[in-house]
Symmetry: C2
Subunit: 110 residues, 2 copies
DNA sequence: CGCCCATGCCTTGGGACCCGATGCATCGTC
DNA sequence: GACGATGCATCGGGTCCCAAGGCATGGGCG
């Protein structure tokens, strides 16, 4: 299982990257990330839903209800243009940190 | 500047990896990580010192005072065997997350 | 000699945020 | 008709970080 700290930090990039593939909804995102990580990441609902609400409030995603005949309601989310830009920024940050860590992990200095 | 969330998550691996190069002390670690990241990571003392204390309490690092003639005291830290193992575990986790993120960032599915 | 900055460690108050539990509702299965 | 899966949401407790401040020494500068 991935440590709490790292799981938390990676939540936003995962959510943004998953939504970049097309709109989705909370419960599905939880399953997708669990499958993607071979079970190493197991998001709780109490963590994810507030995150989705915050992203909506910040304008990075847009939400719509799918009532579809009165059955189980789903709330679909999709990236906004701003969200796409945030995803690119997140990716750049991750790559910078990863680069710095990789340099330490493979020491090469005199 | 690296986002707060990512900076927080990367603190432990950075500290462990820096100490794997040899013993060091708080103030120096702050400077080292700032240089390593081209200023993108700028640790505060109020963040780092509690982290070092926690790592000590958990047995991942050991601390010794360097009083050296009554001048400015320094508290040197160095990795324990347990800390070395924790570093390897951290690295494995980061690589797993990075791998999963990379797969999303470069979509390749049908 | 007096001042300030850099070095060096530490603690505290406030606030952000996550987790586990819980609630509510529908649908399929046994 | 009971239970689990699906699906959304909120709440209380706890963890942990940040900004700020405190304390102490040594060196540069006028």
């Amino acid at each position: 299982m991935i440590s709490q700290r790292l799981a938390t930090a990676s939540t936003i990039p995962f959510v943004l990257a998953l939504l970049a593939e097309g709109e989705s909804y909370g419960y599905r995102l939880i399953q997708r990330v669990r499958a993607l990580s071979d079970g190493e990441l197991d998001w709780s609902e109490g963590m994810l839903y507030p995150v989705l609400h915050r992203l909506t409030r910040e304008g990075l995603v847009e939400a719509r209800w799918d009532d579809e005949g009165g059955g189980r309601r789903r709330r679909y989310y999709r990236l906004t243009a701003e969200g796409r830009a945030a995803l690119d920024a997140e990716r750049a940050e991750w790559e910078r940190v990863q680069h710095a860590l990789a340099a330490l992990w493979s020491p090469r200095h005199a």
